[in-house]
Each structure stands twice: as C-alpha cells, then as structure tokens.
Amino acid sequence: MSAYATDVATLARKDVLLELRSRDTLPAMLLFVVSALVVFHFALPADASDRAEIGLFWIALVFTALLGLTRAFAAEREQGLLDGLVLAPVDRSAIWAAKAISVVVFLALAEAVALPAYALFFQPVGWELVAAVVLADVGIASIGALLAAMAAASRSRELLLPLLFLPLAIPAVIGGVGASVAENPASFLGFLALYDAVFAILAWASFEYVVTE
C-alpha cells in the first residue's frame, strides 16, 4: 500500500483501538440514537406523515454524529497529543483521513442499530434511505473531523462544534430526506455525492492549516 494509505491505516487503527479501550463514544452513540427515535415516536402525532418520520430520523442521525465528533479529538486534546502526530513524518491530512474513517465506522455501527429500530418503530427502510445514509456519513465525517480539530483549539469546545457543524450539515439533511422521500432519489443521491466530494477535498486540503501554526 502507498505510504499515505499505510499512515492512514495506522492512525485509524489507533483511533478504533482507543475507542475499544475507553469504550465511551460508541455506547453513547448507540444508546443516544435509539432513545432519540423513541422520544420522536412520542413527539409525533399518531397520523404523522412519512416525511415527518424520515425528517426526525435524519435529525437523530445528525445529532448522533455530533456526539461522536465531540469526542473525536478528545484524547489528542486532553493529553496535548496533537503535537506528537503533527511532528511525525506523516502528511498531516492523514490524521484527518484516519479520524474521518473512524467517525464513519462509529456512525455505521450506530446506524446498524438505528435503521432496524426505525423500521421497527416507524416504517420499513428502503434501499434509497440506506444509500443516502452511507453517502451522508462520508460528508458528515469529512467535515466533522476537520471542525472537531478546529474546535479542539478553542475554549468552549462542546458548545462550539454544533454551531460550526449544523449549517454545514443542512445540505446533507436536505439530500438525505429528499432521497428517502422523492420518487426518483437519483438526483438527491447524486447531490449527496457532490456534497461529499466538495467538502472532503476542501477538508483534506485545509486540515494541515488547522493543526500547524
């Protein structure tokens, strides 16, 4: 594998190992997404439209992602470790790529629980919803990983990350909800792919500036 891919793999393995060791982000995300869906059930009127239910699913997804992202650079921040990674002879965007991959992994695990729960509580899950979720995860993780590193340098991290993240997540929600509801989801899935590409490239190119001075 190319040197870059090796570094990304090394760093991603470390992120997943850290999570398995501390076991604080993943259980929280799983519990959060299911309890959010249950709360939504009570929040919705009995004859709620499909679109209302789908909309709430996507809100649950975005906030579950936020939960994971708030913890994304927790270890590096609390132990002042980012310098260690930035010092290494590694392309700094590999740190971002590894973190984004680990966020996608945690999100996917949370969705592996959320989608069946949604099918159980609300309505059957179509392939287009699953495709939209996968595509949205990529965009959310790419942007979120960069914003998490940015917020790590600020004083009020937990407060700042949602503010930075939500406006950027609006297109993902529009694409996601649209794909799940529209007769031909193709245009929405295509939009999500464009959204992923634009922001993944921008995040990949600008991460270096977020971690060096």
Partner: protein, 191 residues
C-alpha cells in the same frame, strides 16, 4: 544544521520572540536558558516545525523524520500500553526492526516490566521515561528537549545524560542547567 536570523514570533499582540539569531553546527549542543514564559518552548516548537516564525529566516537542515522532540507533555496515549504507543510511533516514523528497537529502549529506560500496562497507570517519572523512549525511537539526528530533567529521578537523569553525549545535535531548554553546563557548546539566554 540550524540557522536562525532575526527570528520573531508573536501570539496575537504579545511578542514572544524578537530579533533572535543563533547557529547550531552538526553535533553542536545549544543550551537555551531563561525564566518561564521567556519563549523557550516557543523556540523549540519553531525548530520542530510545529509553528513558523512571523518574521526572520529559519533553516533546519533536517526533515521531520530525523527530529526527536521531548515536550512538556509526554505525547503518549494514556489508554494505550507502552508497547502500543511505541508501536504507533514506530510505524509512523517507519523505524526499521521496530520491535527489537522498542524492546531495547524500554529495557534501557527501565520500563520493560511495565510494557503491557496502560500509560495512564504510569507515574510522572515513568511517563517521562516513556516520552524519552518515544523521542529516541527513530534514532533522531536532531534532539529538541524541553526541560528534560523535570520529573526524572537521578537514575533516569543519568540515563538521559549518557544518551545526550552520543554526538547528536542537541538543543535543550532548561531554567536550571546544572547537569547540562558541561555538555553545552553554545548558550542562548532568552530575556
């Protein structure tokens, strides 16, 4: 090896370093002294490439792969064991015969018995020794050490002193340079 001319570094409106000149030849030993907040750590971060000067010219004729940086923080993950931490850095620095070198360093710095314990369970002194293992893991040509003797007991300090004498280029920041006075080939006092 390192050349600095009129180096200046500002943090917001506070000027931390101003008009600094220094030269460190190959194998040289520069001792940087000064009270806390004088900018010693900032200077080391500039040399390590973690930050760039706002003005002036700085040349470090060594790539990141050959720089060893011992910071205030040990830069090791508390949730991972000593072995896992060194394995991570070993891969990132592409250290040849990673396992053998890791074992040798842990042995030398007296951490072999605790190699499978999480760094979070280590005492401050043990953490500092693990940080030293991390710093020397890739056999760096340039050593940047920030208050290296802090939190080290005598035995650890002796180990470090032997390592420093190994002919590498070294820049050390310390505010009580007792142990280093003999080794220093040049000094830089920051006000």
């Amino acid at each position: 090896m390192i050349r600095g001319r009129e180096i200046e570094k500002r943090f917001g409106d506070k000027r931390v370093l101003r008009g600094l000149d220094f030269d460190v030849p190959e194998g040289g030993f520069l001792l940087v002294t000064g009270p806390n907040g004088a900018g010693k750590t900032t200077l080391l971060r500039l040399l390590a490439g973690l930050a760039a000067p706002n003005a002036g010219e700085l040349e470090v004729a060594v790539e990141r792969a050959h720089v060893g940086f011992l910071a205030h923080e040990p830069l090791v993950y508390r949730e991972l064991t000593a072995l896992e931490n060194l394995d991570l850095y070993g891969r990132l620095y592409r250290v040849p015969e990673r396992r053998e070198r890791t074992g040798m360093l842990l042995e030398r710095f007296g951490l072999w018995e605790a190699r499978n314990e999480r760094a979070g369970t280590y005492s401050q002194g043990m953490l500092q020794r693990l940080a030293l293992c991390r710093t020397f893991l890739h056999d760096p040509a340039l050593l940047l050490l920030d208050e290296p003797f802090a939190a080290l007991d005598d035995q650890g300090a002796d180990l470090l002193q032997d390592e420093l004498a190994g002919g590498r280029t070294v820049v050390v920041a310390a505010h009580d340079p007792a142990r280093l006075a003999t080794l220093a080939t040049a000094r830089l006092a920051l006000a």
